[in-house]
């Protein structure tokens, strides 16, 4: 008997916890509100199913618990009922999957006007690279990574000379402009994760992965690593500041390009 009551309490408690829990997602700061909406739809559908199944069980346990002289029904199959349940389930599943795939289609298609920004992960820090005045990122190779060339840029690539290198410091992004994050790692797997942007993606040494988003409000956001990357994983933090256009331009002006960073070395070679 206690079990029937506890089953009801499980349902009631879970719903109340959901409604009154102070533990909820961080306020969104990107265009991916659709993801949040799909998540909410999924919460409602699955919550209804959970409540229905567990309450039905509670009723059965209460109503059909053993009493002297009681005998169970004998009903091996019920084709009609089984078919109906299958169809309803399939509809419920489709109601979650279809909107999900529509949003995913947006997620994988990067808008043409997105600016490319490179993120480079290494144990256990973040660096960034912006394409500079020519709008193009120069090529890079892990083999070239050294103390003087921390991101492994190919020195003779003309596209790379004006690239802005932000080593182990915060990235700034202008608000309201779509960005394509190109993700690269020079050692192990990492994952560029800003909870407020909702999107995230692993970084794989040897490949360049990507995702895109549009920052929708200004502010400072913490970058976390979401893929286990060794003993410093939990301490691999970074920052993204979403600026107004003015602030962004001001910040960009203070940054050094690849050519400027390598210039002293070249001068000394010339001597």
């Amino acid at each position: 008997m206690a079990i029937a009551l506890v089953l009801v309490l499980v349902v009631a408690g879970s719903i109340l916890f959901h409604l009154y829990s102070p533990w909820w997602w961080t306020p969104i700061a990107s265009n991916w509100g659709y993801i949040d909406q799909t998540l909410i739809v999924t919460f409602w559908i699955t919550g209804a199913v959970f409540a229905a199944v567990v309450l039905f069980m509670a009723y059965c346990v209460f109503r059909f618990r053993h009493k002297d002289g009681q005998r169970a029904d004998y009903e091996p199959e019920n084709r009609k009922l089984e078919t109906w349940l299958t169809v309803i389930t399939a509809i419920g599943v489709a109601a979650m999957l279809v909107p999900g795939l529509f949003v995913w289609n947006q997620f994988v298609q990067v808008p043409d006007d997105a600016t490319e920004v490179e993120v480079v992960g290494q144990q256990w820090q973040w660096s960034f690279r912006l394409p500079g005045a020519d709008g193009k990122l120069g090529k890079s190779e892990t083999r070239l990574v050294s103390a003087d060339n921390p991101l492994g840029l190919i020195p003779d690539d003309p596209n790379g000379q004006d690239d802005v290198v932000v080593e182990a410091a915060d990235l700034h992004l202008p608000v309201g402009k779509p960005v394509k994050m190109l993700l690269r790692s020079i050692d192990v797997l990492h994952d560029f994760y800003v909870p407020e942007f909702r999107a995230k993606m692993d970084m794989i040494p040897g490949s360049v992965t990507y995702f895109w988003f549009t920052p929708t409000r200004t502010g400072t956001f913490q970058v976390l690593c979401a893929e286990l990357c060794g003993q410093g994983h939990a301490y691999m933090r970074g920052g993204v500041m979403v600026d107004t256009e003015e602030d962004y331009v001001a910040w960009l002006g203070e940054q050094q390009t690849f050519a400027q960073l390598t210039a002293p070395e070249q001068t000394s070679l010339a001597d």
């Binding site: 961080t26 169970a72 199959e77 089984e82 795939l101 190779e141 994760y193 040897g206």
Partner: protein, 591 residues
């Protein structure tokens, strides 16, 4: 499907194969240690699995100490924390759950339930256990190796698994882990072939496939899957071992290790993930399907009612088993693989929800108009449905690719898989132990201790893992040795973590009570008799309890009906055993 109607005993074909010769033990050693009796092997498997499971339980306490009370325990360094999570995960998934369901329950129940004298290859079956034990010992050895066990996470993703920034990566931890897994696969294959061939070839007369208890269907399908899935893990382990020891680059691209260029080149870390999850996703169902099967039989027996929709249940098990081989990359939506894969894998993943939901409906519909005896096995079966439905539904979040993006790699995932493949199958294991212990030992487990164990485990585990979803929803990543100064952590979230930790200690303590009950009841439990639950399946109809070597008496039982003739109208008793030729009931398995 050939139906054998009652009374038409002539219709049952004579045994095509002569009775198998059993190797009867001649000494204490061959009877209890190097035994070829599947029932002894089952107990050896279960004992070893539970023993190593206790290690995993202690590791989970250590993790929860760190997460609930950060900075309090100096000995839990980040290195140690990652070693704890890695070993906890690997032990629970492979060395406890897989070994206990297949090596433990599979060995004990398959021959008895299909009406066989033993597994068909008893010697290989014995070897299977000893190689498994060796695998466990190698795993345990890594705790004592220099540098300790690997801390790469149970997924062992390269490159970090074999690099120096990870505990055990450049020491012996990862090597011992890989060797242990390779041994496990070898040992499992010997047992697995046995289970499959025994079900296909050694069923007694009249035991058609569609009369098998669902327990056997679940274990059988899971074993077929394991035989197909484990080879992917085996090759992944061998390749990684080569990368680590011989300097090959299967999974290693050009990388910089803490400022030093390594000589690796051209390998693919993603390839390892595909191999791992090609094994890893079926693995979830390798654990789930035996639980599905066993819980069906627990519900049917203790509700005194036939399982609802038996044929649909069989096809759902087979269908889930097949589908589970084409969903693996839903573990890799944000791995950096081609994002267009997401469309395919999200669709297959959500399709698998349909046969799974059918199983849930049929369990609860079996309760409808039943005669529900709230025994401890039944209570655990109910707990299974609650936790499995909960964990299954959160799987719809994570399987739906775009919803997975914010949730992946957060505590939401941890809560989901603990609910669905931790708590749910383990409640079935408990229910099954309370159910079959009387057959194994001849005595009942203590009721009062069982009630205590049930309530602490069910309520406690729900209170651990339900709130944990919301920690993940906040965005808290999994596999963090320290949550401290994260911007999104609130004071109340720290308090919630402390609460979860305290519940984890309580639930863990309840398991010690269960262990005590297991040992105490061997001598002091109430005498059970041959069939205390008044069940229909063949293991309850043996001449001796516990069954002797050879399982049945002089004659193997002949089967006349399906496994679910409970409360048959007109019949005197509320159950008719499978080997009862009586006139009532519904032979062949359906009306």
């Amino acid at each position: 499907m050939v139906d054998v109607t009652p009374g038409a005993i002539d219709g049952i074909p004579p045994a095509e194969v002569p009775e198998m010769d059993l190797y009867h033990p001649h000494s204490w050693w061959t009877k209890y240690v190097f035994s070829q009796d599947a029932k002894v092997i089952a107990i050896q498997y279960s004992g070893t699995a539970i023993a190593i499971g206790m290690v995993a339980l202690v590791l989970s306490w250590l993790m929860r100490l760190q997460l609930g009370f950060p900075g309090t325990f100096d000995f839990i360094t980040p290195e140690a924390y990652y070693q704890f999570i890695t070993m906890h995960g690997m032990i629970m998934v492979v060395y406890l759950l897989t070994a206990l369901f297949l090596g433990g329950f599979g060995n004990y129940l398959i021959p008895l339930m299909v009406g066989a004298r033993d597994m068909v290859f008893p010697y290989a079956n014995m070897l299977s256990y000893w190689i498994y034990l060796l695998a466990v010992l190698v795993l345990v050895a890594s705790f004592f190796a220099p540098g300790g066990p690997t801390g790469a996470g149970w997924t062992l993703y390269p490159p970090q698994a074999i690099m120096s920034g990870t505990p055990g990566g450049q020491q012996s931890g990862i090597i011992l882990m890989l060797v242990s897994l390779i041994l496990f696969v070898i040992g499992f294959t010997m047992g697995g072939l046995n289970y499959v061939v025994t079900v296909l070839q050694a069923r007694t007369r009249g035991m058609t496939l569609m009369r098998l208890p669902l327990t056997v269907w679940g274990i059988f399908t899971a074993t077929v899957m394991a035989l197909l899935a484990f080879p992917a893990l085996l090759v992944a382990c061998i390749m990684m071992l080569f990368d680590r020891l011989l300097g090959t680059s299967f999974f290693m691209p050009a990388v910089v290790e803490l400022g030093q260029q390594l000589q690796t080149n051209g390998g693919s870390p993603i390839l390892f993930q595909h191999l791992f999850w090609f094994f890893g996703h079926p693995e979830v169902y390798i654990v789930a399907l035996p639980a599905f099967g066993i819980v069906s039989d627990l519900i049917s027996t203790h509700a005194r009612k036939n399982i609802f929709g038996y044929r649909m249940m069989v096809w759902a098990i087979v269908g889930i088993g097949a589908l589970s081989f084409i969903v693996w990359a839903h573990h890799m939506y944000v791995s950096g693989m081609d994002p267009y894969f997401g469309f395919f894998f999200a669709t297959t993943t959500l399709i698998i929800a349909v046969p799974t939901a059918i199983k849930v409906y049929n369990w609860v519909l079996t309760l409808w108009r039943g005669d529900i005896h709230l025994t401890i096995p039944m209570l655990f079966a109910l707990a299974f449905i609650v936790t499995f439905v909960n964990g299954g539904l959160t799987g719809l979040f994570l399987g739906n690719v775009v919803v997975d993006v914010p949730l992946s790699d957060t505590m939401f995932v941890v809560a989901h898989f603990h609910m669905v493949m931790g708590v749910a199958p383990i409640t079935v294991i408990f229910g099954a132990i309370y159910h079959w212990y009387p057959k194994i030992t001849g005595r009942m487990l203590n009721q009062a201790l069982g009630q205590f164990h049930f309530w602490m485990t069910f309520v406690g585990a729900y209170l651990i893992f339900f709130p944990m979803h919301y920690v993940g929803l906040m965005g808290v990543p999994r596999r963090y040795s320290e949550l401290g100064d994260m911007a999104l952590m609130t004071e109340s979230a720290h308090q919630l973590n402390a609460f979860i930790s305290i519940m984890a200690f309580i639930v863990g303590f309840a398991q010690l009570v269960f262990l005590f009950n297991l040992i105490w009841s061997i001598r002091h439990g109430k005498e059970a008799g041959p069939n205390p639950w008044r069940a229909t399946t063949l293991e309850w109809q043996t001449e001796h309890t516990p069954p002797q070597h050879g399982n049945f008496g002089k004659q193997l039982p002949i089967v006349y009906r399906w496994a679910y003739d409970y409360s048959v109208p007109g019949a005197k008793e509320d159950f008719i055993a499978q080997n009862d030729p009586g006139e009532y009931g519904s032979p062949g398995g359906h009306a």
